[in-house]
């Protein structure tokens, strides 16, 4: 019998708020963090979901004296602090950090690599600040990193290597990332429209998110979500183009459901990836349809938060758990008209729902995909 592993606490820092409840309230009102921002000098502004730096500093200064942190590190510290205050760090506590680019903005105009751009240095700095005793683990698996980080925590705890884990995920908006996605002509010309007929690309976003994962289920009525199954299967098709068959996502979902030992009709809600590029959303629709999940209510959070890269999977998992706790499905913002060859049951307005089983998915460059199944306990 494999050990049961639970998510019992979480927090997030996004343009919509610096804690979960402010984020949830903003989502209920349909607010989006995406707006036009001037990110690259001498270029037109881009639609992106960006945290106001002044507000970030203001929040940070309330809680922290030490100013020797980058903008991204401040976001990480703010998201993790409330969890560390509530749950004790022991010799058997894992610290897992998920990111794609970390402090990449430090690289601008440098002749050699600054220490801060190494992802392990970033993780160690955060770990040292809070006094973690084990060596940090960095998951850097493109846009599935955030979902995979939950799976890594679950698997390492089940294998008996740790008793509990703090998992954080974060990426910030940088000229590096924006110019790169723009060179792919992948950036949308307005607030993105996942799965919609008129979708024309992504919005980049930034956020940090943190969850606490443990063997101990929460007592006295507080929430627990059991991590039932996970998988991350490669498409083996193309390093930047989504698969046309959805093979990798299909297999990831299938394996995660097998491990969870539940049937597809049991899933109450899918928190999908939905980047709003033509090919990604089409690929997802094919994979969901092959899994016969086309009637399960589904959303993408990208029109609220943009695509927060290594943070997106963890942030969206948190919002989906918050959805389950509040018995409310949140609409897939900006979706109007079916724009995929296989129709999906895309949520169009706030609606009450009993949510017990959640499927969370993600896909990314390198042909990677990931899926986890969560159960509200």
């Amino acid at each position: 019998m494999r050990k049961e592993v639970y998510i019992t606490d979480y927090n997030c820092v996004t343009p919509l708020g610096f804690d979960v409840s402010s984020n949830w309230n903003a989502l209920l009102e349909g607010k989006s963090g995406v707006a036009l921002h001037k990110i690259i000098e001498n270029q037109e502004p881009f639609y992106a979901s960006m945290i106001d730096s002044e507000k970030l500093n203001e929040e940070f200064n309330k809680d922290f004296d030490n100013q020797n942190f980058t903008r991204l590190e401040k976001m990480f510290l703010l998201s993790l602090k409330p969890l560390v205050e509530k749950h004790q760090i022991s010799d058997e506590t894992a610290f897992i950090l998920s990111t794609t680019k970390g402090n990449i903005s430090l690289l601008k105009n440098q002749k050699t690599l600054p220490e801060g751009v190494f992802l392990s240095s970033l993780a160690q700095k955060i770990a040292d600040f809070f006094g973690f005793k084990t060596k940090p683990i960095v998951v850097s698996n493109a846009c599935v990193s955030g979902v995979m980080a939950i799976a890594v925590a679950k698997n390492m705890i089940q294998a008996g290597k740790y008793k509990d884990a703090f998992v954080i995920a974060g990426d910030e908006i940088s000229e590096f990332v924006i110019s790169g996605f723009n060179s792919f002509q992948a950036i949308g010309t307005e607030i993105c429209k996942p799965y919609d007929k008129n979708r024309d690309g992504i919005n980049i976003g930034e956020a940090t998110a943190a969850v606490y994962i443990t063997l101990e289920r929460n007592q006295n009525g507080k929430f627990s979500f059991k991590v039932l199954g996970d998988s991350a299967i490669n498409d083996a098709n193309h390093i930047s183009g989504p698969s046309r068959t959805g093979d990798g996502l299909f297999a990831s979902i299938k394996n995660a459901m097998t491990e969870a030992n539940i049937q597809t009709e049991k899933i109450d809600f899918i928190s999908a990836h939905g980047t709003a590029t033509i090919y990604n959303d089409e690929m997802e629709a094919i994979a969901f349809s092959r899994m016969e999940l086309q009637n399960i209510p589904l959303n993408s959070m990208k029109a609220y938060y943009g695509h927060c890269l290594g943070a997106s999977g963890l942030l969206e998992s948190i919002i989906s758990m918050e959805s389950a706790l509040n018995n409310t499905l949140i609409p897939s913002k900006n979706f109007e008209e079916t724009g995929t060859s296989q129709p999906l049951n895309i949520i169009k307005e706030n609606q009450p729902a009993e949510i017990k089983y959640i499927l969370k998915t993600a896909s990314g460059f390198g042909g990677c995909n990931a899926a986890i199944v969560l159960e509200k306990c």
């Binding site: 690289l107 190494f118 790169g180």
Partner: protein
């Protein structure tokens, strides 16, 4: 629980490839790109996509080729890690956007600014639609990679795991790639 076995090991460093303790290729060059080109020619790899890869992918690809060969790997997972992530290519990409006069961001370079792309390249070559993960650690930690691989094997998500440390920044590189089974 069954014990895990290491069935093949390939190392690449100092312009030398060693497979299961046998030197299979060696050439006196300081330059990784030249080294990779010579390996490709001498082993007749015949895979044109190789030339488009960045150096980290070339390193991971070559070490994996030695072990995977033409066998069936439809149930072999990939678990890789390194220290410098994709910073070798990140640095080159950053140079292409540093100045406004010389602003030429290229999608062909940008796509390699993620460390897991090398895992994607190996998956594509061997049609491996299997579990994969990429970690960034401050130093090679075989115990961690083995622990992570072992739970993949024990859970039945794969029959084998190709595990590897693939570290590269500019001319400094080393690969230690090995195959694990139960």
């Amino acid at each position: 629980m069954k014990m895990m076995k290491k069935t093949a090991i390939c190392t690449i460093e100092n312009s030398k490839i060693v497979l299961n303790n046998n030197i299979i290729f060696e050439i006196p060059t300081e330059n990784f790109s030249d080294f990779a080109k010579e390996v490709y020619k001498s082993l007749a790899l015949n895979y044109p996509k190789f030339h488009k890869m960045d150096n980290l992918s070339k390193l991971a690809f070559l070490a994996s080729e030695m072990i995977l060969k033409d066998e069936d790997h439809s149930r072999t997972a990939l678990v890789f890690a390194n220290r410098s992530s994709s910073l070798d290519t990140d640095f080159k990409y950053q140079e292409s956007i540093n100045s406004q006069e010389n602003y030429f961001p290229s999608p062909a370079i940008f796509v390699y600014t993620l460390p897991n792309i090398c895992v994607g390249e190996i998956s594509i070559k061997h049609k491996m639609q299997t579990e994969n993960a990429f970690f960034v650690l401050d130093e090679f930690d075989e115990q961690f990679l083995n622990d992570y691989s072992e739970q993949i094997l024990q859970s039945g998500k794969a029959d084998k795991v190709l595990c590897g440390w693939v570290e590269l920044y500019q001319e400094s590189y080393n690969a230690f790639v090995y195959l694990l089974t139960l």
